[in-house]
Amino acid sequence: MSSQAPAANPWTPPAVRPPRSIVRRPHWSLARRQAAFGVAIILPTLAVLAVFRFLPMVQALYLSVTAYDLVHPPRFVGWANFASLLHDPLFLKSARVSITYVVCSVVPVLPLSLGLAVLFNQSVFIKNVLRSAIFMPVVMPAVVMAVVWTFMYQQDGVVNTLLGFLGIDPVPWLRSSATALWAVILIGIWRATPYYMVIFLAGLQAIPADYYDAAKIDGAGRWGTFRYITLPLLKPTMLLVIVMNVIVAMKVFAVPMIMTGGGPADSTRVLPLFIYQTGFEFFDMGRAAAMSVFLFVAVMVFSFVQVRLFTRGAESR
C-alpha cells in the first residue's frame, strides 16, 4: 500500500492506529499466555532449589576430589580423599556407628508404631487425650530433647532411679562407650514412634470399612482380619515408613552432637556429626565433601524408593 497518495489528499481521514496496548502485546494465543503464567509461577521455586540444593550437590562432587582448607585455593587430588577415607579407622567406625544407629532405631519403630496405630483404631476410652499424650514427643524440639534426656540419663538421674525400682543396677548411660549409642538410639525410638504411628493411623483409616464387614461375614477372627486384610493393605505404608525412617535416622545430628559430641571413644559419632567436625572444626572441606558423597549415595538409594512411591501413585491418576 502506498501511503503518499492518500496523505496528499486532505479529505482522507487520518489512518486509524490501533491502541498502543494491543500493538505492543506479542501475539500469543490464550493457551500460550496461560502456559507462560504457569511457568512464571514455578520459576522462583526452581531458582531457589537450583541455587541452594543442586548447585551445592554439584559442588560437593567437585570438592570431594580436592584438598581445601578455606585458606588456600582448592587443589585437585583425584580419588585421594575417598581412598584415604576407606582406610581411615575413624571413618569406618563412624560408618559402623551410623549403620548401627539406623538399623536399631528403625527396626523397633515399625512394630511399635503399627501396634499403637492398630490399638488406636479400636474403641478406646479418652481416645483423643491418649493420642495427644502419645504424640507429644514429636512436639519437643530436638535440642530440648537432647538437653532433657542428658539430664535424665545422669548417673543419679531419673532413668536410673526408675530402673532401680525394677532392681536394675544404675547404668552409666552417656559415660560408657558400651551404652552411649544405645542411649541415643532409645531417644530416637521415643521420638520416631509417635510420628510413624500417625502415618499408620492415616493408612488404617484409608482402608474401606466394607473389607472388614466382608471379612466378618466370612467368619474371620480378629487375627485373621489383621493378617489377611490390614497387613497386606498397609504394605505400601509400611515400606514408606521404613524408607522415611531410614532417611531420618541417617541424618541424625542434634542429639548425639549435644549429648555426647560423638564420644565416649567415638562410640556415638554418626556420619553427619563426623562430616560436621571434619568440615567445620578441622576445616578439611575436601574430606568432608567426600564423606558427604558417601552419605549422599546411602540417602539416595532410599530416597529413590520414596520418590518412586510418591510418583507411582501420582502417575496412576
Binding site: 496461560q34 502456559a35 504457569g38 511457568v39 509461577i41 514455578i42 522462583p44 521455586t45 531457589v48 532449589l49 541452594f52 540444593r53 548447585l55 551445592p56 550437590m57 559442588q59 560437593a60 490399638l119 491418649l130 499424650a133 507429644m136 514429636v138 512436639v139 519437643m140 524440639p141 530436638a142 535440642v143 530433647m145 538437653v147 532433657v148 539430664f151 535424665m152 543419679d156 509417635p194 510413624y196 500417625v198 493411623l201 492415616a202 483409616q205 484409608a206 470399612a209 505400601p236 515408613v241 522415611m244 541424618k251 545430628f253 542434634a254 562430616i275 567445620f280 572441606m285 549422599f296 530416597s303 529413590f304 520414596q306 520418590v307 510418591f310 507411582r312 501420582a314 496412576s316 491418576r317
Partner: protein, 294 residues
C-alpha cells in the same frame, strides 16, 4: 486415596457392633490401659523437665524422688533468662521460622498450582527435579552450601538463615497432591468471568487449599523452629543466635545448673506445645501428609 490424611480429619465414628456390649467394653478397658502406660513413657520427659525446673538444686537428685516439687521454685526461670540473651534468641527463632513458613506457603502453592493446572513443555521433568531435592538433605550438602553462603557474604545474617529454605520439595509435593482434587472447570469459569490468572490463584485456589496450607504451615514452622545444624554452621554472632543454638550454648556453659537448663527447655518447648494444642488437627495432618502416597 492420597488425600485421606486430609479428608478424614477426625477418626470416623466406629459403628457400634451389635450386642456383646460388655465384651467390647472390656476390650476397650484393656486397650486403654495399655495406651495409658505408653502415654506415661512418652510424657515422662515432659513431666520431668517441668518438675525439675521448679525443683531446687539441693533436691534435684535426692531420693526418694520428689515427684511434686513443693513449694515450686520459680527462680530458675528468671536466672536462666538473664544468663544469656534469650529474648533475642527467641525473637530470632520466631522471625526465621515465620519467614520460612510464609514463603513456603506462597512458593509451594504457586508451584503446586503450576504443576497441576497448566500445561507446558518440561512440566513432568520439573516435578521430578523438585521431588528429587528430597534426596539432598542439608547433612549432605552442608559443606558446599556453607561455601556458597560465604561467597554471598551471608554468613552471620538473617538471609543466610532464611533464603536457602524459602521453598521445599516436600511442600511442593504436598500442595500438588492437594490441588489435583480441585476441578479445572472452576478455573475455566473464573477465566470466562474475566478474572486475571493471579487473581484466580489468590481468590479461588488458595482459599480452597486451606486445610493443606494450615498443615504445611505447622509442619514447616516445626521444622524451622527445630533447625540446629545450619545455624550452628553459619552463625557465630551472639545477636543472631537462634533458640536451639542458645540452648546448646547454655548447656555447654552451665552444664550442671539443671534447674535453669530445664527452665529454658520448658520455655523452648512452649511455643510448640501451644501450636500443638491450638492447631492439633493441622499438626497431625502435617505429619500424616508426609506419608502421602498414591
Amino acid at each position: 486415596m492420597s488425600l485421606s490424611a486430609f479428608a478424614r480429619t477426625a477418626p470416623p465414628a466406629r459403628r457400634k457392633a451389635p450386642g456383646r456390649g460388655w465384651m467390647r467394653r472390656r476390650g476397650a478397658i484393656v486397650v486403654s490401659a495399655v495406651l495409658t502406660a505408653v502415654a506415661c513413657v512418652t510424657l515422662l520427659p515432659f513431666y520431668w523437665m517441668l518438675s525439675s525446673s521448679l525443683r531446687t538444686m539441693e533436691n534435684m537428685f535426692r531420693l526418694p524422688i520428689q515427684w511434686l516439687p513443693w513449694p515450686p521454685n520459680w527462680q530458675a526461670y528468671a536466672l536462666a533468662w538473664q544468663a544469656q540473651d534469650f529474648t533475642r534468641y527467641f525473637l530470632n527463632s520466631g522471625l526465621v521460622a515465620v519467614a520460612i513458613t510464609l514463603s513456603n506457603l506462597l512458593l509451594c502453592s504457586l508451584a503446586g498450582y503450576s504443576l497441576t493446572k497448566f500445561h507446558y513443555r518440561g512440566r513432568g521433568a520439573m516435578f521430578l527435579a523438585i521431588l528429587s531435592t528430597m534426596m539432598l538433605p542439608l547433612e549432605v550438602t552442608m559443606v558446599p552450601l556453607f561455601l556458597i553462603i560465604k561467597r554471598l557474604d551471608w554468613a552471620n545474617s538473617y538471609q543466610g538463615l532464611i533464603v536457602p529454605f524459602l521453598v521445599d520439595g516436600f511442600g511442593v509435593f504436598l500442595m500438588r497432591q492437594y490441588m489435583m482434587s480441585i476441578p479445572k472447570d472452576l478455573i475455566d469459569s473464573a477465566r470466562i468471568d474475566g478474572a486475571s490468572e493471579f487473581r484466580i490463584f489468590w481468590m479461588i485456589i488458595l482459599p480452597l487449599c486451606k486445610p493443606a496450607l494450615v498443615a504445611l504451615a505447622v509442619f514447616t514452622f516445626r521444622e524451622a523452629w527445630d533447625m540446629y545444624i545450619w545455624p550452628l554452621i553459619i552463625i557465630t554472632k551472639d545477636s543472631l543466635r537462634t533458640l536451639p543454638l542458645g540452648i546448646s550454648l547454655f548447656m555447654s556453659s552451665y552444664g550442671t545448673s539443671w534447674d535453669q537448663l530445664m527452665a529454658i527447655a520448658v520455655l523452648g518447648t512452649l511455643p510448640m506445645i501451644l501450636l500443638f494444642f491450638f492447631l492439633q488437627r493441622a499438626f497431625i495432618q502435617g505429619i500424616a501428609a508426609t506419608g502421602l502416597k498414591e
